[in-house]
Each structure stands twice: as structure tokens, then as C-alpha cells.
Amino acid sequence: MALLEVKDLHTSFFTDAGEVRAVNGVSFQLDHGKVLGIVGESGSGKSVTAYSIMQILAGTGKIVSGSIKFDGQELVGAGEKVMKDIRGNKISIIFQDPMTSLNPTYTIGHQLMEAILLHTNRNKQQAWDRAVEMLKLVNVNEPEKRMKQYPYEFSGGMRQRVMIAMALACEPDILIADEPTTALDVTIQAGILELMKDIQKKMGMAIIMITHDLGVVAQLCDEVVVMYAGSICEQGTADEIFYNPCHEYTKGLMRSIPTAENSGQRLEPISGTPIDLLNMPKGCPFAPRCDAAMKICIKQRCERMEINDSHYASCWMNVKKAVSEK
């Protein structure tokens, strides 16, 4: 049984302007100790998927339908009591902007100890020790001194390390990392990623890495899910996605990054703008920007099709290829 099973998840935001369908029919699985990457542009629904799993959606957001099973237990509709116990304890999340993700009026120590005291049986002294231990784990120097400091006394990279320490303090089974390095300098990014790789090896938890940076995916991820406009275009192992992309969007992404092969050639960005999630048209959401779009793409969405037992894609191009190969 997979550690996390997401089946046909639909999440929408019910705003004054209408229903914004942020996640439309997303399904994937995560096994113990694996690193899954969710790749997509802003607005593709990758963060909303993560927030749906943790059920920390902002005010107007709701899971409309679908199932999320953690260790066999159904989370959708399970209620606050169940979720409170899971958050920060069995499943943890770290966010994109470390500068704003920590409460400025509490010390780092207080914020670290909060989760520990909530979810474990430790007393204050033990919680303190555990917090210091976690700070050491994420390579924050002078941890005892740091415990008494406030967030404004930390740099961006350090704050992100603290966030990681906070998330891992209760030894969760899954760590969700929502674009953890996007808001940091490139040089700091490398450090954080190294840290995450290191910790993952040491603690063996599963990671869902949400990012728009294919480089990060290449470094860390075993499996990859590519999202666009709230749906999954393609999913498979990292190797498959990189070397045998089977969706026009994925192909476009691969074409737009500089590699050794296309060095010296012009990079091809994907032109056009994403569709309006408020008024979603029929057909494939990527079609308006797809160079290879066909008439059927405008009329009808392509269902998820199996390429091999670990690789799936939803693109009519595969049907065309198969038909012409026949």
C-alpha cells in the first residue's frame, strides 16, 4: 500500500467572481522514502494540491471531490480533530517565503518547541533539547543562543533552515516542500537542497517537492508529476520525464532549459499566457499555447493514458503517433 494515495482530487475557490477551479482531477501515489516532484508554472495548482492534502486551504477554498488516503486513512472529510493530529506530526510542510512564514513576535525557540510540545509527550526541557538537536541537524550554528532570538535576527537562508527544523521536529512520514528555494539567492539554494538531500538520507521520510525549477527536480526527485492548469499532463520517473517526455507541455519545458545538447542554439520559451481558471474551456487546457495543437485538442480533453507501467500522459499526440504507427 502506498503511503499517500491521491485519487481524482478536485479543489476550487468560491470567490465573488465565481468558482475558480484550481485542481481538476489530480491522481498520484507516494511511497515511503521516495521523493516526488510536482512541476508546473504559477497557477498550475501544485501548491493548492499540497494545501488540499494538509487541508490548510485559504478561506474560500474547498475540496470539492476526490480522495486522499494517508497510510490507508481517508483524509477528505475526516475533520479537524484528525487533521490537527496529522499536521506537523505525520505530514509537515515548509513554505516558499521564509521571511514571512515565521511569527515575528515569538522567539525561534518558542516556535520550534510549539510543535514538539503539541504532538509528543516531552516536557519543556526535553522539547528544548529536541529543538536544539533539530537546529544542529539543519546546520544552524550556536543553536542554544539562536533559540532565544527572534526571526528578524535571522537571514533568509537561516530562516528556511529553521522552517525545515520545525517541520522535521516530530519526524513526519511526509515532508511537503512548497518551492522552498524560490525566494532565496542561488548560492543559498544549493545549500538548502544539499541539506534536504542529506536529511532525507538520514531520516528516510518521503518528500513531495513542489517547484517550477527543473534543475531541482533533476537533483532530488525519483518521480515527477507535471501539472498544468489544475490537471496532470504527465507523470512518471524522473528519467522518463526528462528523456522521454510524452506531453507537448513537458516537451516544451524540456526545450526551454539550457542543456549540453542545445548549447549554442536558441532557447525556445513557451509562448502565450495560461488560461483563465474562472472560465475553463472544453478541451485540453494547454492547447492555446501548443504549437502542435490539433482540432481534437480544442474539442476534447485527452484522458490519462499509459505509456508504460510507471509513465502516464494525457496528450492526443500519443494517440496520433500510435495510430500512425499502426
Binding site: M54, I56, A58, E80, M83, K84, D85, I86, R87, G88, N89, S92, I93, F95, D97, T100, S101, L102, N103, P104, T105, Y106, E114, A115, L118, H119, Y150, P151, Y152, M163, M166
Partner: protein, 308 residues
């Protein structure tokens, strides 16, 4: 404490002292700019008697000398005798008045603070519900009514028509209406401020982090959110006191409360110059001190501001 904060505090204290000095000076020179002096218009005063009175009060000396004398006196709290209330010293009149007015003001401020923050927080938590909308409408109405209108209306409704509360402010029960009148505006202001601040805070990332850690909802609100929401309210302490001081001038008139505000207004009507100057300086100094405390408190409490 952060050396930058200390420097800021020092600067503000110097500015406050300087402001009080400006107030004293301005008050002095304005009062002496009135043509004719304080004894003009008094009936049946012969020029000889007038001269004698002026000599008695030191009004015949050159202006600058009078100023310096006054300045040194004020610093020692010697405000001189009242010109119109024979036999009473200004400082005694003020002290008597202050006792009542401070009681009035402090209770009103306290009530406004407590009720304002509670109502504002609830309005934010129950955003866009009937509860919230009613609060917003009511507070908007209160914020638009001058204190004398509010006071007069309350007087009409409760003291005259319904006859449930006394109209005169000399008794303890008689203070109820004045307190309510004084507190309605600050309460409404604080409610709106707290609501807006709370809504702002609830949308912040660190609230999401707290929720993601599994912190129970009540603790998120009263632990994480409230602390941050109340910080801007501290900036309102100074203006609130200024409002209460000026409001009390009018409220004490309407309800005949024997406070320093009424003494001030009467002194203006009577042209009791020493009393006018004394009360102006005392009230102004109160306001300046309150603003100072408010500014310092805000700096100290908000850890982010310290960074600058």
C-alpha cells in the same frame, strides 16, 4: 535594548520637552497679545485701581521679563492665583478638576480599549456575517458623530425622556452618561482598527505556518494572531487621550461635571488668564506625554521595527 531604539527614545523625549516649552511660550504670548489685558471690561474699576491690580499681578513689567518669571514659575508648578475666582490658586482649581476628569478619562479609555479589541476581533473572525456588518455600520455611525452631539442625544434619551440616569455629573451615578459619551468614539475607532489589523494578520504566512504545524484554531487566534493584531492599536493611545481631553471639555459642559475641562471652558468665557494658561499647559503636557509613551511603547513592542 537595541542602541538604535535608545537613540529614538531619546530623540522623542527631547522633542516632547521642546514641544511643551513651545506650548508654554505660545500660550503666554497669545494671552498677552490680547489688547487691553485681563482687566479691560471690568465694570467700576478706576484707572488707579487698575494700575494697582496690574502691579500686583506683575503685569506692568516688560513682557520678556514677565515671560521668564512665568517660565521659572511653571517649572515649579507655581501657576499663580486665579484672576476671576477670588482667593483660589490656579493649581488648586486644576488639581480638584483633574481628580474628577482623570477618573472619567481613564475609565472611558479602559472601557473603549477592552470593548473595542473584543468587538474588533470578533468582527474579523466572523467576517461578512450579520454580526460583522452590524458592527461596521454602528461604528461608522459613532465615528461620524461629534462628541457634543453624542452627549446631547444621550442626555435627551436617557436623562430626559426615559429618566433612568441623572443628567448632572456631580454624583457617581451621574458619571455614567459622560463616560459612555466619551468612550463611544474611541471604542468604535479601536474596533475598526482591530478588525482591519486582525484581518491583515490572519492572511499572513506565519498564521498558515502555525495551522500547518497542527496548532489548534483557538491558540492560533489568541496566541499567534492577537499579539500581532494589537500592535497597531498601541499607536492609537496618544490620539485617544487627545480625543478624551478635548471631548471632556464639551462633555463636562453638557453634563455639568466638575472637572478640569469645564474649568478650562469657563476660564475662557471669563477671561481668567492665569487659569487659562495653567489648564492649557497642563492638558497639553498630558497629551504630549501620552503621545510620547505611545510612540516608545510601539517601538519597543514591534520587533520588526527594531530592525530599522
Amino acid at each position: 535594548m537595541n542602541p538604535k531604539t535608545l537613540k529614538y527614545i531619546l530623540k522623542r523625549i527631547i522633542l516632547a520637552v521642546f514641544t511643551v516649552w513651545v506650548v508654554i511660550t505660545v500660550t503666554f504670548f497669545i494671552m498677552h497679545a490680547v489688547p487691553g489685558g485681563p482687566f479691560v471690561g471690568e465694570k467700576a474699576v478706576s484707572p488707579a485701581v487698575q494700575k494697582a491690580m496690574e502691579a500686583k499681578y506683575g503685569l506692568d513689567k516688560p513682557l520678556f521679563e514677565q515671560y521668564l518669571t512665568y517660565l521659572t514659575d511653571v517649572i515649579q508648578f507655581k501657576f499663580g492665583p486665579s484672576l476671576k475666582q477670588r482667593g483660589r490658586m490656579v493649581i488648586d482649581i486644576m488639581t480638584d478638576g483633574l481628580k474628577t476628569s482623570i477618573k472619567l478619562g481613564v475609565i472611558a479609555a479602559f472601557l473603549a480599549l477592552i470593548s473595542g479589541t473584543i468587538l474588533g476581533s470578533f468582527a474579523a473572525l466572523r467576517r461578512n456575517t450579520v454580526f460583522d456588518r452590524v458592527i461596521m455600520v454602528v461604528t461608522t455611525a459613532f465615528v461620524s458623530m461629534p462628541s457634543f452631539i453624542m452627549g446631547s442625544l444621550l442626555l435627551i434619551v436617557f436623562a430626559i425622556e426615559l429618566k433612568v440616569l441623572p443628567a448632572n455629573g456631580s454624583t457617581a451615578a451621574g458619571l455614567i452618561l459622560p463616560i459612555i459619551t466619551l468612550m463611544l468614539y474611541p471604542m468604535s475607532y479601536i474596533t475598526r482598527m482591530t478588525r482591519s489589523s486582525m484581518l491583515d494578520v490572519l492572511g499572513q504566512d506565519y498564521i498558515r505556518t502555525a495551522k500547518a504545524k497542527g496548532v489548534p484554531r483557538l491558540r492560533v487566534i489568541f496566541g499567534h494572531a492577537l499579539k500581532n493584531s494589537l500592535i497597531p492599536v498601541i499607536t492609537y493611545f496618544g490620539p485617544m487621550l487627545a480625543y478624551i481631553v478635548t471631548g471632556s471639555l464639551v462633555v463636562e459642559q453638557i453634563f455639568a461635571v466638575p472637572g478640569i475641562g469645564r474649568a478650562f471652558v469657563q476660564s475662557i468665557i471669563n477671561r481668567d488668564y492665569t487659569l487659562i494658561m495653567g489648564t492649557t499647559i497642563v492638558l497639553a503636557t498630558l497629551i504630549v506625554i501620552m503621545n510620547l509613551i505611545s510612540d516608545i511603547l510601539y517601538k519597543v513592542v514591534d520587533p520588526r521595527i527594531n530592525l530599522e
